[in-house]
C-alpha cells in the first residue's frame, strides 16, 4: 500500500516568536496543515506523532504536553525522540500495518526560549570522556569539517559557495528567517571561530512548526487529486561515540539512504531525482551528505556547488528552499521542513522557488550536533 502526504503546514520561521507560547506555535502549524488537507483532527485522524527532544523543550516527558494543541486529546499519540523524518517513518509503518488510515506528524522549534543552547549541545557529549574537558562544543563540527575536507578532497571555498547559495535562495522563500545577499567572499572571510569552520558556515536557530498529514492510498486519493507519495524511507545511526564514528563519510546518511532507496527501487541515485533537500546545519554537511547519498561522486560535491549544478536549473537542484542555512535551524523539525519544501515543489506550489518538472525528490535529515543520526525519504508524484 502506498502512503501519501496530503497535508502540509509550515509556520514562517523566525528568529524569535515572542507572542506565541510553544503550544500556540504548534496549534498554528496544525491549523495550516489540517486546512491544507481539508480534515477535522477530532474525527479524521487515527494517530498523532510528535518529534521532540526534552532538553530543547525545557521540560520533561514532552509527550504528556502535546495532545490538546493538535486536536489529539484522548487519541493514540506518541513522541519520537528524534528528527521529523524518523517520526514520518513511524507514520508510514502505522499506516502500512493497518493501525491507522490517517496519521499526523508534527515537529517544531521554539529555540528562542532556550537561553543556553550551547550548554545543551555540550550536554549531548559523553559525560565521562568528553564533557569534562569543557570548550565550545562546535569543536566537534570543526574537527569533522577538517576530517571531511582532507579525506574527501573538497575545499573550504566550496563550503563558502554553499553558504552563499543557500542564504541567497532563501530570499525567495517567504518562510525563511535568514535570507540574505551573502557572497562567497563574505562567507570565506567570516570569523574562523572553530577553524576550519567559520561563523557563517553554521546555521542559526529559528522558531517554527511543521505539521504533515499522511494517509494510506485509498484515503489519500479521497483527500487530494495528487498526493505526494512516500516511495521510500529510512533512518540510521553511526557508532555513538565521537571516538569511534566515521569522521569523513557520515555512515548514518549512507545507511538511511540505502534503506530508503531499497524501498523506492532507486538504483542510480545521481540520475534519479529532480530535487534534493539535504541537511546543511553546517555548510560542509551539505557536501558530505550529497556524497553519502551517492548524489555526488566522492570528492565532487564541492565542484557541483562551485559550478552551479546545485542551483535551480542545475543538474541536481539542492536546497533551493534555502535549507537550514537560509531558513534557520529548526532543530528536530528540520527533516519535516525539508519534506514540506520538497512536497510543495512536487505539487507545483513552491511559489517563486518552483522548479520545472519536479517528479521525484530525495530528502535527508541529520539530528544536529553532536549526533550521528538521521533519516532519508524519497518522495514522488504520479504513477
Amino acid at each position: 500500500m502506498r502512503v501519501g502526504i496530503v497535508g502540509v503546514g509550515v509556520t514562517p520561521f523566525r528568529p524569535t516568536t515572542p507572542e506565541f507560547s510553544w503550544k500556540e506555535l504548534m496549534y498554528d502549524g496544525a491549523q495550516r496543515s489540517y486546512a491544507d488537507a481539508g480534515i477535522d483532527p477530532r474525527s479524521d485522524v487515527g494517530s498523532f506523532i510528535t518529534c521532540a527532544e526534552d532538553y530543547y523543550e525545557g521540560f520533561g516527558i514532552f509527550d504528556e504536553f502535546t495532545p490538546d494543541q493538535l486536536g489529539a486529546v484522548l487519541r493514540p499519540m506518541h513522541t519520537v525522540g528524534g528528527d521529523g523524518i524518523q517520526g514520518l517513518a513511524n507514520a508510514v509503518m502505522q499506516i502500512r500495518s493497518g493501525l491507522a488510515d490517517v496519521v499526523v506528524v508534527e515537529s517544531h522549534s521554539k529555540a528562542s526560549d532556550i537561553l543556553t543552547f550551547t550548554g545543551i549541545v555540550a550536554h549531548g557529549l559523553d559525560p565521562i570522556w568528553n564533557k569534562p574537558l569543557g570548550g565550545h562544543p562546535n569543536y566537534v563540527a570543526g574537527l569533522e569539517m577538517d576530517a571531511f575536507l582532507r579525506g574527501s578532497g573538497n575545499r573550504s571555498e566550496d563550503c563558502a559557495a554553499v553558504v552563499a547559495a543557500n542564504r541567497q535562495t532563501a530570499l525567495l522563500n517567504p518562510i525563511a528567517a535568514y535570507g540574505a545577499r551573502v557572497t562567497k567572499e563574505q562567507a570565506a572571510k567570516s570569523p574562523a571561530l572553530w577553524a576550519p569552520l567559520r561563523q557563517l558556515d553554521a546555521s542559526t536557530l529559528a522558531d517554527g512548526c511543521v505539521v504533515l498529514v499522511v494517509a494510506g492510498e485509498a484515503a489519500a486519493r479521497k483527500m487530494r487529486s495528487e498526493p505526494v507519495w512516500i516511495e521510500g524511507i529510512g533512518w540510521a545511526s553511526d557508532s555513538p561515540s565521537l571516538e569511534t564514528r566515521d569522521w569523513v563519510a557520515p555512515a548514518y546518511a549512507t545507511l538511511a539512504a540505502e534503506m530508503a532507496y531499497r524501498l523506492a527501487k532507486v538504483r542510480d541515485p545521481a540520475r534519479s531525482f529532480d530535487l534534493a533537500e539535504v541537511d546543511d546545519k553546517f555548510s560542509y554537511k551539505e557536501l558530505q551528505h550529497l556524497e553519502a547519498l551517492r548524489l555526488a561522486r566522492k570528492g565532487h560535491a564541492g565542484k557541483m556547488a562551485r559550478s552551479g549544478d546545485l542551483a535551480a536549473g542545475g543538474k541536481l537542484p539542492t536546497n533551493v528552499s534555502g535549507g537550514s542555512l537560509g531558513c534557520g535551524n529548526v532543530l528536530e523539525a528540520s527533516g519535516l521542513h525539508r519534506v514540506a519544501e520538497a512536497a510543495l515543489q512536487l505539487r507545483g506550489e513552491a511559489g517563486r522557488l518552483q522548479l520545472d518538472g519536479v517528479r521525484r525528490a530525495v530528502v535527508q535529515s541529520w539530528r544536529g550536533l553532536p549526533s550521528a543520526s538521521g533519516g532519508v525519504a524519497v518522495l514522488g508524484v504520479g504513477r
Binding site: 507572542e19 570522556w129 565550545h136 562546535n138 574537527l143 577538517d146 582532507r150 571561530l193
Partner: protein
C-alpha cells in the same frame, strides 16, 4: 486575546524565567574504572581487545561494538598517537572570544579503534592532521582518575 486578535504591542509580552535542576553523578563503569585507575596510579593509557574479532578499543569497552561479545583483555596503548583531525576554537562555551585560541584534536593510535578527542598543547599553526603526539599528564599525586588527568596531547 485570541488567535484572530493578536498582540501587536511588544511591551505586553510576558515570559517566565526557569531552569532545570538536573544534577547527576556519572558512573564510570567497570571499563572506565580500570582505565582511570591505570591513568591515575600508573600514568598508563589502556584499551581493551575483543577476543572474538580482535578489534582493540579505546576508550575501553567491555562489550564489542562489532560482534557484541563481552570483552575481557586489556592492552596498553602505544606511547605516540597521530592527530587525525584538528580544530582551532576561538570562542568559549558562553560565546565570548578567547584571548588565546585553543587547539582541539582527534588523536588516533595505531591498531586501535577510537582514540581521544582532546586539547592539543601546541600553537594553532602547528595543530594539524598527521602530527605525532603524546599524552601530557598531570603530575603523579595530583591525578584524580578522570579524563582531565590528561592535560592534552603534545608532540
Amino acid at each position: 486575546m485570541t488567535f484572530t486578535e493578536r498582540t501587536t504591542d511588544a511591551r505586553s509580552f510576558r515570559h517566565w524565567p526557569g531552569n532545570v535542576e538536573a544534577d547527576y553523578i556519572y558512573t564510570s563503569g567497570i571499563a572506565g574504572e580500570r582505565f582511570f585507575r591505570e591513568l591515575r596510579d600508573h600514568g598508563r593509557l589502556m584499551g581493551t581487545r575483543c577476543s572474538e574479532c580482535g578489534t582493540q578499543w579505546v576508550p575501553p569497552k567491555l562489550f564489542c561494538e562489532e560482534c557484541f561479545k563481552e570483552v575481557h583483555d586489556w592492552v596498553e596503548l602505544p606511547r605516540e598517537g597521530t592527530v587525525g583531525a584538528a580544530c582551532i576554537v576561538g570562542v568559549a562555551l558562553d560565546g565570548s572570544r578567547l584571548s588565546a585560541p585553543e587547539a582541539w584534536g582527534l588523536v588516533r593510535f595505531a591498531g586501535f579503534r577510537g582514540g581521544f578527542v582532546h586539547r592539543l598543547l601546541v600553537t594553532p599553526d602547528r595543530a594539524r592532521a598527521g602530527l605525532r603526539v603524546r599524552a601530557v599528564l598531570k603530575p603523579e599525586g595530583t591525578r584524580t582518575g578522570a579524563i582531565t588527568d590528561i592535560r592534552g596531547f603534545s608532540p
